[in-house]
Symmetry: C2
Subunit: 236 residues, 2 copies
Amino acid sequence: MNAIEVCFTPDLIEQHELNGKIAIVTDIFRATTCMVSGLANGVESITPVISVEECLSLQKLGYLAGGERHAQRIEGFDLDNSPFSYMREEVKGKKIAMTTTNGTLSINKAKPTAKEVWVGAFLNLSAVANALQKENMDVVVICAGWKGRPGLEDILFAGALVEKLKDSHEVADDSALMAHRLFLLGENNLLNYVQGASHLKRLKNLGGGLDIPHCLAFDQYDILAVMNGDELVLRP
Amino acid sequence: MNAIEVCFTPDLIEQHELNGKIAIVTDIFRATTCMVSGLANGVESITPVISVEECLSLQKLGYLAGGERHAQRIEGFDLDNSPFSYMREEVKGKKIAMTTTNGTLSINKAKPTAKEVWVGAFLNLSAVANALQKENMDVVVICAGWKGRPGLEDILFAGALVEKLKDSHEVADDSALMAHRLFLLGENNLLNYVQGASHLKRLKNLGGGLDIPHCLAFDQYDILAVMNGDELVLRP
């Protein structure tokens, strides 16, 4: 039986052995929700980068620049960090360079050591789980959180994945155990269950409240988003 | 209203502002359970130190040396890390120097910045909560975990404290929110609810299984254990 463990924030990534494992990065509000929405709607690729400057450099090469700082749009960028921006007609077929406070950072932290890095969201939960069941590899779910602190919504996604994989992957740490129990408590009404989460309040205050139901919708897309070199792309 | 936040492991302590706040350090299996048991049973003071060498130096000055590495007794030490060792007749009136992998480390990490550092365990939960309600200060619960990773039992204690303080301290982060929800799920049968916790398995394998019910017993002692300089002592 393979194993699944959960890393509550990218600040704890050194606690986890990623070698030979698949890292599933999740940032439900909203980076990985944007990424999955974009790739499902025809975006060619998304290149996660650490800095605003790298994004702007890639913009000069023809990429669209997307992302946020402090959950807000960045000056000179084409796209903010709302999933609906990544679903517009004009982004189809485009390459996007993206930088966010937590999600793209987590991807870039996992990349050097994990065997594979995939991106997960509630939107493609079952697709991720089904694909993982076909791989003979251990899984580490990396929750992006907020500036190093754990975020409820990401941990709920991790718990959802533990639940989906319960017949193929044993729970390998207390974080996975807790994520699983929290998810089972909230799964029938996620929207209600995430009330009180700090990131939800932050989003609502910044006018991102309309994104929330989309971020929490299960299985809207039957796609896999995987890192291939420096680009996140659909896995055929 | 004051606030309560929860730090899931000492590796995340830099994420929390401890200045002007009371830090409650908890390491249920077993450091803070030992400390509370010892002070409640007549130990004069417990000095938490980082290294085995410091413990042995203090031993030469007349302290008893206690603690563990890898959850096991240390060569040359007078006491292991079982709470029952700290309740024996011969430790009464003695000063103990103690070093453990997670608990004493957490205390020493909190000490430089927190206004006060107290130690908490299920054994003195209500005493801690009642005392906190009389202080006009924010609270950060620091969960010792295991080698930097979150541990279920410590997070349950944090959740228990959130529950006890719900009328006086607002939940200030998602970690406190999650700890609270997990505690409410498990409070009526903690012994059953911690089955599956990695530290519980570790303890049982090392013969520490008999300690577990004591570690999870609510309100056996109406005492406060607080850091005073380098020593943990009873607060009168």
